[in-house]
């Protein structure tokens, strides 16, 4: 369970987040959605401790999100930021091995090696293990980064718009994999999504932001309606229902 209490965030006199208090449930996939500039990524960055807290408190299962807990947090919460571009040359395997750093501080034990192998296998990267990242396609590189967060073996996985730059097949494969991690391994996944249809299809819980406030939250089937699109996104799109899942007509 991730608890956010009274979080405000101001940049140059502009209020990005306004006194947000929200509880993200343990287990399942929680998606943060909202129009551009609603504060999704800011909220994400605060939970991911990429931005220092100005006001308010955030805790992950009672563990306070603050610099003094950085090592404990890195074993509890893995993050995949929006754009990962590395200037360094690492092989896929070396990158995934760095995911074990919070557990072994670089001295890999046999269980760390086992976890690295498991991550490479889970993402179908075995044949690419010794390739340098800069020689891979964008999709493969992205997969390697997700594999690294997977190897970190945390209860919580935070992803900021992971579907950017992925084609439909890669997007669906990634979401299906996250679904499996949530269902089979009991991980809690918090994900910032642009595409409401992906959120409706794969998430268990939606948190809708608008103008720096939590507008509403709840189950996708109840949340994704024409009214939401009109009120929050300001567009009069139609919503169809396919197999009990709402579907926004583009």
């Amino acid at each position: 369970m991730i608890t956010v209490e009274n979080l405000s965030y101001t940049v140059a006199n502009t209020c990005i987040l306004k006194d947000i208090s929200v509880t993200l449930p343990k287990g399942g996939i929680t998606a943060l959605i909202g129009p551009n500039g609603a504060g999704k990524s800011s909220l994400f960055s605060h939970i991911a401790r990429l931005l220092p807290l100005q006001t308010g408190r955030i805790s992950v299962e009672g563990l306070e999100v603050s610099p003094s807990n950085r090592q404990a947090l890195s074993r509890k919460l893995a993050i995949l930021p929006q754009e990962v571009h590395f200037a360094t040359r690492l092989t896929v395997k070396e990158l995934v091995q760095f995911g074990r750093y919070p557990h072994c501080q670089g001295r890999l034990r046999s269980e760390d090696h086992a976890m690295v192998t498991a991550a490479l296998e889970a993402f179908g990267l075995m044949s690419l293990a010794d390739r340098f990242l800069d020689t891979l396609s964008g999709g493969q590189r992205h997969k390697a980064h997700v594999a690294m967060t997977y190897a970190q073996d945390t209860d919580y996985l935070l992803l900021d718009e992971p579907l950017n730059n992925l084609d439909i097949a890669a997007s669906r494969a990634l979401m299906a994999l996250l679904r499996r991690l949530a269902d089979e391994e009991g991980k809690t996944i918090v994900i910032v999504l642009h595409d409401i249809n992906f959120a409706a299809q794969y998430a268990d819980h939606l948190v809708v932001l608008k103008d720096g406030c939590i507008e509403r939250e709840g189950k996708p089937a109840e949340m994704v309606t024409g009214a939401l699109l009109a009120d929050v996104f300001g567009t009069d799109a139609q919503v169809a229902v396919v197999d009990d899942t709402p579907f926004v007509m583009p």
């Binding site: 993050i79 360094t88 040359r89």
Partner: protein, 320 residues
Amino acid sequence: MQRRVSTLLLAVGTLFLAAISLFVGVIDLHPGEIWQGGEAFTLMLDSRLPRTLAAVIAGAALAVCGMIMQMLVRNRFVEPMTAGTGQGAALGILIVAVVFPSASILTKMSIATATALASSIGFLMIVRRLPAAQPLLVPLVAMIYGGIIGAGVAFFAYQWDMLQFIDTWLTGDFSGVMRGRYELLWIAAGMTLLTYLIADQFAIAGLGREASINLGLNYDQVLILGLLAISVVAALTVITVGAIPFVGLIVPNIVSRQFGDNLRATLPLTALCGASLVLASDIVGRVIRAPYEIPVGTVLGVIGAFVFLWLLYARPSHAR
């Protein structure tokens, strides 16, 4: 596997070059004479051995520091000696020479390290404001930044009538290395060994701030430790032999292309590569117009320019 073989080959190569360095010079020396004692033994102990050790240490330390700086700045085209750290150290030495001329060598070293650190931090602050999409801006800014500090050093040296000293600091040269005048470099060697202990943290810092925070690293602390190590090495090198350019630039680039950036595995290779490059350049400088010498800084300037052009145009190797 290939990394291990390469490390071994480079180690043998470095030893070979070191052996040559011991026996090349104005006075002819044969291996057999040393053990008979006398003049040959003294020459070896007072001049040739210190000179060779100084070249090995300076080369290895500067190459490793170049690699670390490239990780911290996240740019392949910077190195301490041209990005203000070396010039900062020279500024510190100048200040000591003018303000506290009778200061101990330790004070001299501390002040030079402090000014080197200050100018490195200044460089990092400027680089952080540059657009990430334009990596070539970084080396340009580095050159201008280093140039400005260097010009400041020259200006004050001129004002205080110390211009003749500048050359000894800003042009690396091993010809003055003798027993009793290079030992400070061992501190640089120790510093370089210490950086190896946190090689993983530098490699992760190279992945960026977000990845570092994700993995529970104290990112700011890693930055400061890295800059401190770079500043100590730069200051000690400038004090003892003068600035040696390009080693910190081309060696990390070559190693990274061939073996990647997993620093724990590649730092030993980087050190050996740097040591052999500086040794070889010093030998060339001694041989090419013997009995006179060309400073190692000049030799490396020429070699470095060509190797760097080659690096810019050659394609990196794709797999191990």
